[in-house]
């Protein structure tokens, strides 16, 4: 096992005061350390105010905290300019923003959007709807049943018609880490805009937007120790500058007359209404927490957990693991136990205090490919332990024998 002070870490998370909880669903959403919970309470209790427009002292404190959260997040993904960081309600809203303000405004019949069969619904449906409205063709990079992308025809899929390539960085079903740099480079050759759904990668590994050189990238606070209802759209400043607003109203305008309005600078142009102040501050505190431990150390620790988990799960008869056969993978494992429906299995695991997810994981095209209706998914984060993996395996074996 790689070194993390796991007892210290677990003691930071109030939820684990309940010793019987084995939480293996961090790919859906993660728990929060007290540092994050307290940052939110402290804001509401001691310096709550609206931001940007207040002359008064209180508003200035809130504005500073809000802005420093933004800078914090920019640094975390190595964005060179804080104006690239647009606060949204989450990855889903980030993708919809681009589907409305970029795709619908820039694409026309004959153009193509390319995604993959591995996407989360939030990186499928917004493009389906935009494609339908604009007459654009939505194409898919196929997947192999081993949970990797089939890039053999990539040159035929990315053509001069391709205007947007949007790819999941790390699969929320298989854990597969996709070769996005390679795909981004292909896209650049045809001047397609690139969008990375980093909801599953940024919480677990160092992602550098300058190195990737993608145009857009999205992630969510709640999947990385932060609050619900906050996420980020990263966008290159020139691109954001050139776009029309998505939602409109207060704070995102420069001036409003009865006949027309002009827009505020980025990122504010895309942040209509009272900002997500408490959520941004909470998200900033989550980034601080991760930075204090070190994202690379977290990554290494999870990789060692993953190795152990794969080994132990593979020792269970008639347990089929999807993916994890080659290449780099995050600490997310989908599997099924022969003869036990995943929802029954999840129910039995819950009985032993083990929280895993059963379902299609918002990725029905993958389920269709695997020809299953659902899988069990166990996913890990910095607070999980090898002991918990042992308990998972024990509970799986017990359930297996109950059903057979």
């Amino acid at each position: 096992m790689s070194k993390l002070d796991i007892n210290k870490i677990r003691s930071d998370f109030p939820i684990f005061a309940d010793k019987s909880l084995i939480y293996l669903d961090s790919a859906a959403t993660t728990h929060k350390p007290k540092q994050v919970i307290n940052a939110i309470s402290n804001f509401y209790s001691n310096y709550y105010a609206n931001v940007h427009r207040g002359i008064y002292e209180l508003g200035m404190k809130a504005t500073e905290a809000y802005q420093s959260a933004r800078q914090n997040i920019a640094n975390f993904i190595n964005a060179s300019d804080w104006r690239s960081i647009v606060f949204t309600g989450g990855t889903t809203e980030s993708i919809n923003l681009v589907a409305y303000s970029w795709a619908r405004k820039n694409l026309k019949t004959g153009d193509e959007i390319l995604i993959t069969e591995m996407e989360h619904h939030s990186n499928i449906v917004p493009w389906q709807l935009a494609a339908e409205e604009t007459g654009v063709l939505l194409k898919y990079i196929p997947i192999n049943t081993d949970g990797t992308l089939d890039l053999s025809n990539i040159d035929k899929l990315i053509t001069s018609k391709t205007k947007l390539v949007s790819i999941i960085h790390q699969s929320n079903v298989f854990g597969t880490i996709n070769p996005i740099k390679k795909i981004i480079n292909h896209a650049k050759k045809v001047n397609a805009i690139t969008f990375i759904d980093a909801a599953q990668s940024i919480p677990h590994s160092h992602v550098d937007v300058q190195d990737l050189d993608c145009d857009f990238l999205a992630f969510s606070g709640h999947k990385m120790l932060g609050p619900t209802s906050i996420g980020v759209l990263y966008g290159k400043t020139e691109l954001l500058d050139s776009m029309m607003p998505f939602m409109s109203g207060g704070d995102m305008i420069n001036s409003v007359t009865m006949t027309e309005s002009t827009w505020n600078d980025i990122p504010y142009k895309f942040e209509a209404g009272t900002p997500k102040i408490a959520q941004a501050i909470g998200f900033g505190a989550a980034i601080d927490y991760i930075n204090d431990i070190g994202i690379d150390k977290i990554h290494d620790y999870e990789q060692s957990l993953l190795k152990v988990a794969l080994e132990k799960l593979k020792s269970i008869d008639e347990l089929e693991i999807y993916g994890h056969q080659t290449g780099e993978n995050g600490a997310v494992i989908s599997f099924n136990l022969e003869g036990v429906h995943p929802h029954d299995l999840a129910q039995f695991l819950d009985q032993d205090g083990i929280a895993v997810r059963a379902g299609h994981h918002c990725a029905q095209p993958i389920m269709n490919k695997l020809e299953v209706s659902a899988t069990i998914r166990a996913s890990f984060y910095l607070y999980n332990t090898e002991e918990e993996i042992d308990k998972l395996c024990a509970s799986l074996r017990k359930t297996q024998s109950f059903f057979n």
Partner: protein, 147 residues
Amino acid sequence: MNELQELYQQVIIDHNHNPRNFHKIKHPSHSAKGHNPLCGDKFNIFLTIKDDIITEISFTGSGCAISKASSSLMTEALLGKTVTEAQKLFDLVHNMVTTGLANAKDIGKLAVLSGVHKFPVRVKCAILPWHTMKNALDKSTQTAITE
């Protein structure tokens, strides 16, 4: 016996392993599809109704133990019943899986499904085949979706 074991008792496990009437009827007079969007599971229910009597009933599809056993038990319970009796049984089962309450005489063997009310997320599993059957009786061509 804890709540989970009470739910997954022998009858359910048995019907899950060996579902009764688990096939397609050639020329059903009524049929419907059912879909649980929460899990993606799907069932088909087939019925032959003659003179208001259910003379044949069967199902196909896949789902969890609860939904499969519920389907299987339903086909057993409804065979030979009138359409009115089937509608009535739907109401009784619906009530039982949400409240846990049922009259032993009316509900018979279906009482094994009563434990599901302790697991709100699974109520949809138990009721899915029943909704689908009801849709079939209503000659509805819509896919039943458990509410």
